[in-house]
Protein backbone atom coordinates (compact mmCIF):
# COMPACT_ATOMS: atom_id res chain seq x y z
CA UNK A 1 0.00 0.00 0.00
CA UNK A 2 2.76 2.38 0.98
CA UNK A 3 4.78 1.72 -2.15
CA UNK A 4 1.75 2.11 -4.43
CA UNK A 5 0.89 5.45 -2.84
CA UNK A 6 4.47 6.67 -3.17
CA UNK A 7 4.49 5.70 -6.87
CA UNK A 8 1.25 7.66 -7.38
CA UNK A 9 2.70 10.73 -5.61
CA UNK A 10 5.82 10.40 -7.76
CA UNK A 11 3.78 10.39 -10.98
CA UNK A 12 1.86 13.45 -9.79
CA UNK A 13 4.98 15.39 -8.85
CA UNK A 14 6.58 14.54 -12.19
CA UNK A 15 3.57 15.92 -14.03
CA UNK A 16 3.55 19.06 -11.89
CA UNK A 17 7.19 19.65 -12.75
CA UNK A 18 6.58 19.06 -16.46
CA UNK A 19 3.68 21.51 -16.41
CA UNK A 20 5.83 24.20 -14.84
CA UNK A 21 8.57 23.47 -17.38
CA UNK A 22 6.04 23.94 -20.15
CA UNK A 23 5.03 27.27 -18.62
CA UNK A 24 8.59 28.46 -19.16
CA UNK A 25 9.39 26.87 -22.52
CA UNK A 26 6.26 27.20 -24.67
CA UNK A 27 5.98 30.18 -27.02
CA UNK A 28 2.67 31.97 -26.39
CA UNK A 29 -0.24 32.29 -23.97
CA UNK A 30 -2.51 29.68 -25.49
CA UNK A 31 0.18 27.01 -25.53
CA UNK A 32 1.14 27.87 -21.98
CA UNK A 33 -2.49 27.44 -20.96
CA UNK A 34 -2.31 23.86 -22.28
CA UNK A 35 0.63 23.12 -20.00
CA UNK A 36 -0.76 25.04 -17.06
CA UNK A 37 -4.19 23.46 -17.18
CA UNK A 38 -4.14 19.81 -18.12
CA UNK A 39 -0.72 18.85 -16.83
CA UNK A 40 -1.03 20.42 -13.41
CA UNK A 41 -4.61 19.30 -12.83
CA UNK A 42 -3.64 15.71 -13.58
CA UNK A 43 -0.54 15.96 -11.41
CA UNK A 44 -2.40 17.49 -8.49
CA UNK A 45 -5.07 14.79 -8.68
CA UNK A 46 -2.47 12.03 -8.61
CA UNK A 47 -0.47 13.57 -5.76
CA UNK A 48 -3.52 14.14 -3.55
CA UNK A 49 -4.98 10.69 -4.20
CA UNK A 50 -1.54 9.16 -3.59
CA UNK A 51 -1.49 10.73 -0.14
CA UNK A 52 -4.96 9.28 0.41
CA UNK A 53 -3.63 5.83 -0.54
CA UNK A 54 -0.59 6.05 1.74
CA UNK A 55 -2.74 6.92 4.77
CA UNK A 56 -6.05 5.07 4.24
CA UNK A 57 -7.81 6.98 7.04
CA UNK A 58 -7.35 10.21 5.10
CA UNK A 59 -8.83 8.93 1.88
CA UNK A 60 -12.20 10.68 1.96
CA UNK A 61 -10.87 14.12 2.71
CA UNK A 62 -8.19 13.70 0.03
CA UNK A 63 -10.95 12.72 -2.39
CA UNK A 64 -12.81 15.91 -1.45
CA UNK A 65 -9.71 18.04 -2.11
CA UNK A 66 -9.19 16.42 -5.50
CA UNK A 67 -12.87 16.89 -6.35
CA UNK A 68 -12.65 20.60 -5.64
CA UNK A 69 -9.46 20.91 -7.69
CA UNK A 70 -11.22 19.14 -10.54
CA UNK A 71 -14.16 21.57 -10.29
CA UNK A 72 -12.40 24.91 -9.86
CA UNK A 73 -9.24 24.67 -11.93
CA UNK A 74 -10.84 24.31 -15.41
CA UNK A 75 -13.21 27.23 -14.70
CA UNK A 76 -10.41 29.67 -13.91
CA UNK A 77 -8.31 28.52 -16.85
CA UNK A 78 -11.26 28.86 -19.22
CA UNK A 79 -11.80 32.41 -17.95
CA UNK A 80 -8.12 33.22 -18.47
CA UNK A 81 -8.08 31.87 -22.02
CA UNK A 82 -11.20 33.80 -22.95
CA UNK A 83 -9.75 36.94 -21.41
CA UNK A 84 -6.55 36.51 -23.42
CA UNK A 85 -8.55 36.20 -26.65
CA UNK A 86 -10.83 39.11 -25.80
CA UNK A 87 -8.01 41.43 -24.81
CA UNK A 88 -6.28 40.86 -28.12
CA UNK A 89 -3.19 38.83 -27.28
CA UNK A 90 -1.83 37.69 -30.65
CA UNK A 91 -1.22 34.08 -31.61
CA UNK A 92 2.25 32.68 -32.10
CA UNK A 93 3.65 33.04 -35.62
CA UNK A 94 3.97 29.30 -36.13
CA UNK A 95 0.41 28.43 -35.17
CA UNK A 96 -1.60 26.97 -38.02
CA UNK A 97 -5.28 27.07 -37.09
CA UNK A 98 -7.55 29.60 -35.39
CA UNK A 99 -11.04 28.23 -34.90
CA UNK A 100 -12.22 31.22 -32.90
CA UNK A 101 -13.01 33.20 -36.08
CA UNK A 102 -16.03 30.99 -36.67
CA UNK A 103 -17.80 32.28 -33.58
CA UNK A 104 -19.53 35.67 -33.70
CA UNK A 105 -18.60 36.70 -30.17
CA UNK A 106 -14.89 36.43 -30.90
CA UNK A 107 -15.04 37.76 -34.46
CA UNK A 108 -14.04 41.39 -33.99
CA UNK A 109 -11.74 41.24 -31.04
CA UNK A 110 -8.56 42.06 -32.91
CA UNK A 111 -8.86 45.81 -32.68
CA UNK A 112 -9.45 46.00 -28.93
Amino acid sequence: MHIAGMIAIGIGVLFLFLGSFGIVRLPDVYNRLQAGTKCTTFGCLFAVLGVGIVEPAWFWKALLVSLFVLLTNPISNHALGRAAKKSGVPLWDGSVVDKSRDFPSYANTEKL
Partner: protein, 233 residues
Protein backbone atom coordinates in the same frame (compact mmCIF):
# COMPACT_ATOMS: atom_id res chain seq x y z
CA UNK B 1 26.15 45.51 -11.98
CA UNK B 2 23.12 46.89 -10.20
CA UNK B 3 21.34 43.57 -10.63
CA UNK B 4 24.32 41.71 -9.16
CA UNK B 5 24.47 44.00 -6.13
CA UNK B 6 20.75 43.67 -5.55
CA UNK B 7 20.94 39.87 -5.79
CA UNK B 8 23.75 39.77 -3.21
CA UNK B 9 21.73 42.02 -0.90
CA UNK B 10 18.70 39.75 -1.32
CA UNK B 11 20.69 36.66 -0.36
CA UNK B 12 22.09 38.40 2.72
CA UNK B 13 18.63 39.57 3.78
CA UNK B 14 17.07 36.14 3.38
CA UNK B 15 19.92 34.48 5.31
CA UNK B 16 19.32 36.93 8.12
CA UNK B 17 15.60 36.14 8.11
CA UNK B 18 16.22 32.39 8.19
CA UNK B 19 18.70 32.52 11.04
CA UNK B 20 16.45 34.86 12.98
CA UNK B 21 13.54 32.45 12.55
CA UNK B 22 15.74 29.52 13.55
CA UNK B 23 16.17 30.88 17.07
CA UNK B 24 12.51 30.57 17.97
CA UNK B 25 11.19 27.06 18.79
CA UNK B 26 8.34 27.03 16.29
CA UNK B 27 5.99 24.10 16.49
CA UNK B 28 7.92 22.31 19.19
CA UNK B 29 6.58 21.48 22.59
CA UNK B 30 9.70 22.24 24.54
CA UNK B 31 9.37 25.68 26.00
CA UNK B 32 12.14 25.96 28.55
CA UNK B 33 10.80 28.16 31.28
CA UNK B 34 8.01 26.32 33.02
CA UNK B 35 6.40 29.35 34.60
CA UNK B 36 5.78 31.20 31.34
CA UNK B 37 2.12 31.60 30.33
CA UNK B 38 2.73 29.62 27.13
CA UNK B 39 3.36 26.48 29.15
CA UNK B 40 0.10 27.10 31.02
CA UNK B 41 -1.91 27.49 27.82
CA UNK B 42 -0.41 24.38 26.27
CA UNK B 43 -0.92 22.17 29.29
CA UNK B 44 -4.20 23.28 30.75
CA UNK B 45 -6.09 24.98 27.93
CA UNK B 46 -7.69 21.71 26.84
CA UNK B 47 -9.11 20.83 30.27
CA UNK B 48 -10.17 24.34 31.18
CA UNK B 49 -11.95 25.32 27.97
CA UNK B 50 -12.59 22.10 26.09
CA UNK B 51 -11.12 23.35 22.83
CA UNK B 52 -8.73 20.93 21.19
CA UNK B 53 -7.20 23.77 19.18
CA UNK B 54 -5.02 25.81 21.53
CA UNK B 55 -5.23 28.91 19.33
CA UNK B 56 -9.00 28.92 19.65
CA UNK B 57 -8.88 28.54 23.42
CA UNK B 58 -6.57 31.54 23.62
CA UNK B 59 -8.46 33.70 21.11
CA UNK B 60 -11.99 33.13 22.32
CA UNK B 61 -11.73 32.52 26.06
CA UNK B 62 -8.53 33.88 27.55
CA UNK B 63 -8.36 36.84 25.20
CA UNK B 64 -12.04 37.17 24.33
CA UNK B 65 -12.27 40.85 25.13
CA UNK B 66 -9.49 41.51 22.62
CA UNK B 67 -11.46 39.60 19.96
CA UNK B 68 -14.43 41.87 20.64
CA UNK B 69 -12.11 44.81 19.97
CA UNK B 70 -10.94 43.30 16.66
CA UNK B 71 -14.52 42.80 15.49
CA UNK B 72 -15.26 46.41 16.44
CA UNK B 73 -12.29 47.61 14.38
CA UNK B 74 -13.61 45.78 11.32
CA UNK B 75 -17.07 47.26 11.92
CA UNK B 76 -15.63 50.79 12.08
CA UNK B 77 -13.70 50.18 8.85
CA UNK B 78 -16.91 49.06 7.13
CA UNK B 79 -18.72 52.18 8.38
CA UNK B 80 -15.91 54.41 7.08
CA UNK B 81 -15.98 52.78 3.65
CA UNK B 82 -19.75 53.15 3.53
CA UNK B 83 -19.43 56.85 4.33
CA UNK B 84 -16.86 57.31 1.57
CA UNK B 85 -18.88 55.43 -1.05
CA UNK B 86 -22.21 56.96 -0.21
CA UNK B 87 -23.49 59.25 -2.94
CA UNK B 88 -26.62 61.36 -2.79
CA UNK B 89 -27.22 61.22 -6.50
CA UNK B 90 -29.34 58.55 -8.08
CA UNK B 91 -27.11 55.69 -9.14
CA UNK B 92 -27.27 55.15 -12.85
CA UNK B 93 -25.45 52.16 -14.13
CA UNK B 94 -22.94 52.70 -16.86
CA UNK B 95 -22.97 49.41 -18.71
CA UNK B 96 -22.02 50.43 -22.19
CA UNK B 97 -18.97 48.30 -22.91
CA UNK B 98 -19.47 45.74 -20.18
CA UNK B 99 -18.95 42.17 -21.33
CA UNK B 100 -21.14 39.58 -19.69
CA UNK B 101 -19.60 36.44 -18.30
CA UNK B 102 -19.43 33.30 -20.40
CA UNK B 103 -21.84 30.43 -19.94
CA UNK B 104 -19.26 28.15 -18.33
CA UNK B 105 -18.35 30.77 -15.75
CA UNK B 106 -21.99 31.51 -14.94
CA UNK B 107 -22.85 27.84 -14.50
CA UNK B 108 -19.74 27.20 -12.44
CA UNK B 109 -20.40 30.13 -10.14
CA UNK B 110 -24.01 29.13 -9.64
CA UNK B 111 -22.94 25.56 -8.87
CA UNK B 112 -20.04 26.43 -6.56
CA UNK B 113 -21.73 29.16 -4.50
CA UNK B 114 -23.64 26.89 -2.07
CA UNK B 115 -20.65 24.56 -1.73
CA UNK B 116 -18.36 27.42 -0.72
CA UNK B 117 -20.92 28.75 1.77
CA UNK B 118 -21.23 25.24 3.23
CA UNK B 119 -17.46 24.95 3.54
CA UNK B 120 -17.22 28.32 5.30
CA UNK B 121 -19.89 27.18 7.74
CA UNK B 122 -17.90 24.01 8.40
CA UNK B 123 -14.77 26.06 9.08
CA UNK B 124 -16.34 28.30 11.68
CA UNK B 125 -18.44 25.70 13.43
CA UNK B 126 -15.48 23.33 13.81
CA UNK B 127 -13.17 26.16 14.89
CA UNK B 128 -12.36 24.57 18.23
CA UNK B 129 -11.43 21.19 16.75
CA UNK B 130 -9.57 21.97 13.54
CA UNK B 131 -7.58 24.95 12.23
CA UNK B 132 -9.73 27.89 11.34
CA UNK B 133 -12.29 29.92 13.15
CA UNK B 134 -14.68 32.80 12.87
CA UNK B 135 -12.53 35.16 10.85
CA UNK B 136 -11.43 32.55 8.34
CA UNK B 137 -14.94 31.19 7.85
CA UNK B 138 -16.33 34.70 7.46
CA UNK B 139 -13.77 35.51 4.79
CA UNK B 140 -14.65 32.31 2.93
CA UNK B 141 -18.35 33.25 2.94
CA UNK B 142 -17.51 36.77 1.74
CA UNK B 143 -15.46 35.19 -1.07
CA UNK B 144 -18.54 33.23 -2.11
CA UNK B 145 -20.52 36.47 -2.44
CA UNK B 146 -17.60 38.01 -4.36
CA UNK B 147 -17.76 35.07 -6.76
CA UNK B 148 -21.45 35.77 -7.25
CA UNK B 149 -20.61 39.38 -8.12
CA UNK B 150 -17.96 38.26 -10.60
CA UNK B 151 -19.84 35.44 -12.25
CA UNK B 152 -23.53 36.13 -12.64
CA UNK B 153 -24.57 39.75 -12.34
CA UNK B 154 -28.29 39.17 -12.57
CA UNK B 155 -28.44 37.81 -9.04
CA UNK B 156 -29.01 40.65 -6.63
CA UNK B 157 -27.80 40.44 -3.08
CA UNK B 158 -30.16 41.83 -0.43
CA UNK B 159 -27.95 44.33 1.35
CA UNK B 160 -30.66 45.40 3.83
CA UNK B 161 -31.00 41.89 5.30
CA UNK B 162 -27.22 41.57 5.32
CA UNK B 163 -26.95 44.64 7.53
CA UNK B 164 -29.59 43.14 9.81
CA UNK B 165 -27.61 39.89 10.08
CA UNK B 166 -24.46 41.82 10.92
CA UNK B 167 -26.13 43.81 13.71
CA UNK B 168 -27.80 40.70 15.15
CA UNK B 169 -24.48 38.83 15.21
CA UNK B 170 -22.81 41.68 17.11
CA UNK B 171 -25.65 41.79 19.63
CA UNK B 172 -25.39 38.02 20.15
CA UNK B 173 -21.65 38.25 20.80
CA UNK B 174 -22.02 40.97 23.44
CA UNK B 175 -25.05 39.23 24.91
CA UNK B 176 -23.15 35.97 25.43
CA UNK B 177 -20.37 37.91 27.14
CA UNK B 178 -22.86 39.60 29.47
CA UNK B 179 -24.56 36.26 30.16
CA UNK B 180 -21.18 34.89 31.25
CA UNK B 181 -20.90 37.85 33.58
CA UNK B 182 -24.36 37.09 35.00
CA UNK B 183 -24.19 33.33 35.48
CA UNK B 184 -20.47 32.99 35.90
CA UNK B 185 -17.77 35.20 37.22
CA UNK B 186 -16.24 37.04 34.30
CA UNK B 187 -17.04 38.42 30.86
CA UNK B 188 -17.35 35.66 28.21
CA UNK B 189 -17.12 32.88 30.77
CA UNK B 190 -18.19 29.40 29.71
CA UNK B 191 -21.51 28.84 31.42
CA UNK B 192 -22.90 26.03 29.27
CA UNK B 193 -22.27 22.36 30.16
CA UNK B 194 -19.53 20.61 28.20
CA UNK B 195 -19.77 17.25 26.51
CA UNK B 196 -17.06 14.77 25.68
CA UNK B 197 -13.67 15.98 24.54
CA UNK B 198 -12.90 16.06 20.82
CA UNK B 199 -16.60 16.12 19.93
CA UNK B 200 -18.55 18.93 18.35
CA UNK B 201 -20.33 20.01 21.54
CA UNK B 202 -17.24 20.00 23.73
CA UNK B 203 -16.71 23.71 23.55
CA UNK B 204 -19.61 25.14 25.51
CA UNK B 205 -20.12 28.68 24.26
CA UNK B 206 -17.18 28.65 21.81
CA UNK B 207 -19.17 27.44 18.74
CA UNK B 208 -21.90 30.02 19.41
CA UNK B 209 -19.37 32.84 19.61
CA UNK B 210 -17.67 31.61 16.46
CA UNK B 211 -20.99 31.45 14.60
CA UNK B 212 -21.65 35.08 15.60
CA UNK B 213 -18.16 36.20 14.54
CA UNK B 214 -18.39 34.31 11.25
CA UNK B 215 -21.71 35.86 10.25
CA UNK B 216 -20.53 39.32 11.28
CA UNK B 217 -17.23 39.19 9.37
CA UNK B 218 -18.83 37.65 6.30
CA UNK B 219 -21.61 40.25 6.15
CA UNK B 220 -19.19 43.14 6.65
CA UNK B 221 -16.72 42.02 3.99
CA UNK B 222 -19.50 41.26 1.51
CA UNK B 223 -20.88 44.74 2.15
CA UNK B 224 -17.48 46.28 1.50
CA UNK B 225 -17.10 44.40 -1.81
CA UNK B 226 -20.65 45.32 -2.87
CA UNK B 227 -20.02 48.98 -2.09
CA UNK B 228 -16.80 48.91 -4.12
CA UNK B 229 -18.37 47.27 -7.17
CA UNK B 230 -21.53 49.33 -7.40
CA UNK B 231 -19.82 52.67 -6.97
CA UNK B 232 -19.49 54.77 -10.10
CA UNK B 233 -16.00 56.09 -10.81
Amino acid sequence: MRILISCVLLVILSLGLVFALEQAPFGSNQIDNADKPGRFYLNQGMEKTGAANVVTSVVVTYRGFDTLGEVTILFIAAIGLGAVFHSRKKVKRYEKEKQSASLILQTGCRFLFPLIVLFGTYVFIHGHLSPGGGFQGGVIIASAFLLLFLGCEEKKIPMKSMNTVESLAGIIFVGIGLAGLYWGESFLENFLPRGMDYMLLSGGVIPIIYIAIGFKVGAELAGIVAGLIERNP
